[in-house]
Amino acid sequence: MKVLVAVKRVVDYNVKVRVKADGTGVETANVKMSMNPFDEIGVEEAVRLKEAGKATEVIAVSLGPTQCQETIRTALAMGADRGIHVQTDVELQPLAVAKLLKAVVDKEQPQICILGKQAIDDDANQTGQMLAALAGWPQATFASKLVINDDGSANVTREVDGGLETVTVKMPFVLTTDLRLNEPRYASLPNIMKAKKKPIDTLTPEQLGVDAAPRLKTLKVAEPAKRQAGIKVKSVAELVDKLRNEAKVI
């Protein structure tokens, strides 16, 4: 059984994101980039499936500029077997990513495609769902537990607003990861060294027959408004009054 994991290169979660002066996006020049944390969880889950003898091969896919290969190498160092890099410098939006992944899925025929539930840069939370729809596959999103059954299905526990929901999905399916699915490992030094020798295939959207052009136009990106200083109230009555009449929350 092949497992395909999508990994996105994003601004590192430790970096304080700044908006570009011209308001066209966030500053990414000379900013530390790393793998989307939800995708790290995806790689970890795939590698665990392989270690448990459930998966035979783990393929890491990343889409975007040349530097995405570094992100693929990170996945390879964690234990993925090979990588696929779909190279493009155009801005990729969820629909284009889903279409490109669909083309890779058609080519590779994995039984499970794992994605992070969202990327920490755009927080779109759309790609996995779109991919499932395009592929006509079942989807199990926000997974906090995955159990592969012997009959070619899987039980997935999902984190939903009301608590935990367990669904059964038939392979092939799309899984999107939530934070509690696992704790990603540190890549070991021998695996970092081995990762260099693992193959990464490079493709282009044209080769996959996909038009990756953006459908949405970004009008403006702005920093959140600065928080105003608070005030001290003299009494509970004044507080209630302000909450009711100024903040209008009660």
Partner: protein
């Protein structure tokens, strides 16, 4: 505890841009160390240090190690962190692939060690000692010994120690009393007491490999009668499976000022079975080959603490609001300005940082020369590198650890009262750093090593390995207008160093006490010249990249170089004056004065 973020950009700057490790890709191990792989290694090491080791630093200090009836338990979390560290293969980074290591350059290992030491100095002791034992066995062990012990030390399944010190001898190992009795089967029985044995006993590994200095029955007196033995806690069979407990035990652990999570043990050997490593009576020279590595590694510890102290201090200085700037209000919307506006706070921060950055470059340079000494195809180049490392080792050990203590002290000073209380973790850095100036040969001994041993080798051959290329570099640099700003003060300091060396050669030859009295000042003078040289090289790179996207980064390098040239390197004048004032201020004082 101050948060630690590995200075990866600074580390890469030294490795890739200043030392250009990529130009050594013809050496074994370097071919794999392409910049992208080095990046991946450093990033993962950084993640491990910040994520696993640093969170245990303060708790490990508060809790310390526990001793109960011969058993030592490390603080909460250490066992798990060690298991992960070993599992991830970090211990084997520089080790021989024949024994499961990665065979990567030592200079890369220096960078990883720096991060470990910044994050958790106590933790670093355990793998550090294993590395020492590995080096001694790798260089001097028999094939059988190597096959048995090295794979386990490399994987971290077993750990190592260096058992040198005894109650009556620390610096003067000629006084060692521990005995080794030959047995019919070719092994030996060791009896004696060793003290201050780091990682002598603990709960991290299934076995502990002690390297012990002891005296054979027919040994000549003094330093030439010491032999080196390997003495495992549990006796392994030929396949490396641990068996019977050897006759040795931990008698106590020390209560210490710092590195409290590192177990410092009294080790009692009571007829423990051991095997000779290397030749009879040649134990000191065998030990010294590993001690030279260890001394550089201790220098790296000083560097690691200095970096951690700077990071803590600079974060606080940007946040702490006190008083207004002397040059006019800087933060009108706040009740006071952040203390980083004050000249004295900047003096402290820049003293920490400008020296730390140059120390990093110096230590990594020594690390790279170690690799060249071990692997370069040309014998002449190997010898030159070996000479340079021999010369630089006492300087790196002593100066970097002195700087670690200084930087930790400045860190507390920047914090004011909050540095003195324990919550912020700044005072721990002072306590942890303090030992680095003492062990592996006190810094006084390092200075004597430099003036007594290193200067006299081959009538100044080691010195020429530094003086000739550095002088040539500085002369060329001084001719470049933009670089002259940094090269000229360094040339002045270099002139002082050469004068000092001539003075020392003359005065020291006549009277060894003069050399001893001058040693401390001379080592510091030498170190400052070496750091000035490193700053020139860093500035040269920074000047060539002023048009780059990372202009701010390179500008910062020039700022560091300027501070160093203006405020640090002039100390060479003072050192020259005090040094050449001679021994009398100390030695003419009658004994009953004290």
């Amino acid at each position: 505890m101050p948060a630690y973020e590995a200075p990866l950009r600074d580390i890469r700057f030294v490795l890739n841009e200043v030392l250009r490790i990529d130009t050594f890709s013809n050496l074994p191990g370097f071919a794999d160390a392409t910049p992208d792989v080095v990046d991946a290694i450093l990033e993962e090491a950084a993640k491990f240090c910040s994520g696993e080791l640093q969170p245990l630093n303060q708790s490990g200090d508060e809790e310390g190690c526990h001793f109960d009836d011969g058993k030592v338990t490390t603080p909460k979390g250490f066992k798990e962190a060690y298991a992960k560290f070993a599992e991830a293969g970090w211990i084997g980074l520089p080790c021989d692939p024949a024994y499961g290591g990665q065979g990567l350059p030592k200079v890369i290992n220096f960078a990883v060690e720096e991060m470990v030491c910044s994050a958790n100095l106590s933790f670093g002791m355990y793998p550090g000692l294993s590395n020492g034992a590995y080096n001694a066995l790798h260089l001097h062990g028999t094939e059988e010994q190597k096959k048995l012990y090295l794979p386990k030390l490399v994987s971290g399944q077993w750990s190592g120690t260096m058992c040198l010190t005894e109650p009556q001898c620390g610096t003067d190992l000629g006084l060692i009393k521990t005995r080794a009795e030959p047995q019919a089967d070719g092994s030996y029985r060791i009896t004696g007491t060793k003290i201050f044995i780091s990682a002598g006993e603990h709960d991290l590994t299934e076995n502990i490999v002690h390297l012990v200095l002891a005296r054979l029955p027919d040994a000549p007196a003094g330093i030439r009668g010491i032999s080196l033995f390997v003495c495992p806690k549990f006796l392994p069979d030929a396949a490396g499976k641990v068996g019977e407990r050897n006759k040795l035990a931990c008698g106590a652990i020390e209560k210490k000022m710092g590195i409290k999570a590192s177990a410092t043990c009294v080790m009692n050997f009571d007829g423990a079975q051991a095997w000779l490593v290397g030749q009879k009576h040649k134990g000191m020279s065998a030990m010294f080959t590993m001690m030279n590595f260890a001394r550089l590694a201790v220098g790296i510890q000083g560097l690691g603490v200095a970096e951690a102290a700077y990071q803590g201090a600079v974060t606080y200085a940007k946040e702490r609001l006190q008083m207004r700037s002397l040059g006019g209000v800087k933060a009108p919307d706040k009740p006071a300005d952040p203390i980083i506006v004050h000249p004295d706070v900047r003096r402290m921060l820049l003293t920490q940082r400008s020296i730390t950055e140059a120390c990093r470059a110096l230590a990594y340079w020594a690390g790279m020369e170690l690799d060249i000494a071990a692997h370069h195809p040309e014998a002449e180049r190997r010898q030159a590198a070996d000479d340079l490392v021999a010369l630089l080792t006492p300087i790196v050990k002593a100066y970097l650890t002195d700087h670690g203590s200084l930087a930790a002290n400045l860190g507390v000073q920047v914090f004011g009262g909050h540095g003195f209380i324990r919550d912020w973790g700044m005072e721990q850095l002072i306590r942890d750093a303090r030992i680095t100036q003492i062990y592996e040969g006190t810094n006084g001994i390092q200075a004597l090593d430099l003036v007594g041993r290193k200067l006299s080798v081959g009538t100044g051959r080691l010195l020429r390995r530094f003086f000739h290329p550095v002088t040539a570099y500085l002369e060329t640099a001084a001719a470049k207008p933009a670089l002259a700003e940094f090269a000229l003060p360094t040339i002045k300091a270099m002139a002082k160093l050469q004068q000092a060396t001539a003075w020392l050669a003359q005065a020291g030859l006549k009277d060894p006490e003069e050399a001893g009295a001058a040693a401390h000042d001379y080592l510091r003078l030498f170190a400052l010249v070496a750091l000035g040289y490193m700053w020139c090289r860093m500035a040269e790179v920074a000047l060539s990249k002023q048009e780059s996207e990372e202009r701010a980064f390179y500008q910062a390098k020039l700022a560091g170089a300027r501070f160093f040239m203006a405020k640090v390197i002039p100390e060479t004048n003072l050192l020259f004056t005090t040094m050449t004032s001679g021994k009398n201020a100390m030695m003419a004082v009658p004994d009953d004065y004290f």
